[in-house]
Symmetry: C2
Subunit: 144 residues, 2 copies
DNA sequence: CACAATTAGATTGTGCACAACTCAACTGGA
DNA sequence: TCCAGTTGAGTTGTGCACAATCTAATTGTG
């Protein structure tokens, strides 16, 4: 007879725990920038290229407008982004960085190293982990 | 000059994405049991050993009473657990499985295989991943 | 014993996730 | 051209996470 599944054997729980632990490490660092972790992710996308539509941001992050709309309003209230209705397509809202939003990328550059320092894994192990997680995420999305 | 960090280089984003993808795969399966993913985790702990106090559950899962108290109320409303004030220590609330809660472990046994099937990784790769994630989580908690 | 400190759990408030829905703007045939 | 269908964004409702605070029960120490 099969046993009830055990928590400590579950890859999914390992993922869930590691993800929460990582955001917990980032939290005090991001607090200094006044950002939450998902807000930081949105800013990362915008620092790469802007303006971006809500849909486009959602594509990069795997989030829908139900999550992004209120989040972007909060970023706008912080003075980091501006939301402008597109002229060509009145449905689209283009998210632009403000000067303050652009400048925030400077202190943000030090952040990734903080996780690396706290991780207790070698650079190679981190690369390996990132690759495996990428494969896993792609396969999981495939199966949906 | 340092570049702004790129989203696709971030281990933390890989973790965040993989974790959400994993719960997305579980969601339709758990829907059949009437459970959310965190509720399933709590049931996993209780199937191993019960009754357990709220603090004890929180220790296993890394969650506090602010998360668990309402979650356990919902499990109680579903008829899967009972919350009983301990006689010896009136502060403690012991979480007991009901018969229905115990019986739910039977259909739940098939669940972990679903993730394994969807993962597109070999058994060995999954084991390796789980081990690395365990190391990572421990190190991250250490650094707090 | 008295009482300050600690502990278990619950509550409140904020911010994600995500499903389900609404609405306005656009698109593509018949 | 008309209008059914699609699309982009926003809203509503539920359920986590997590910080901060609260209360009541227990414990340790003088």
């Amino acid at each position: 007879m099969t046993e009830a599944p055990r928590l400590d054997r579950q890859v999914c729980f390992a993922l869930y725990s590691a993800s929460r632990a990582a955001t917990a490490v980032y939290r005090p660092v991001l607090d200094e920038l006044g950002l939450t972790y998902p807000q930081y992710l949105v800013m990362l996308v915008l620092w790469e290229d802007e303006p971006r539509g809500v849909k486009e941001l959602g594509g990069e992050l795997g989030l829908d407008s139900g999550t992004l709309s209120p989040l972007l309003k909060r970023l706008e209230a912080l003075g980091l982004v501006e939301r402008r209705r597109s002229g060509e397509d009145e449905r689209r809202v283009a998210i632009h960085l403000t000067t303050a939003g652009r400048e925030l990328s400077v202190p943000a550059r030090a952040i990734p190293q903080r996780l690396a320092d706290a991780a207790g894994l070698s650079h190679g192990e981190l690369e390996q982990l990132r690759a495996t997680l990428g494969k896993l995420t792609a396969a999981l999305h495939q199966s949906l």
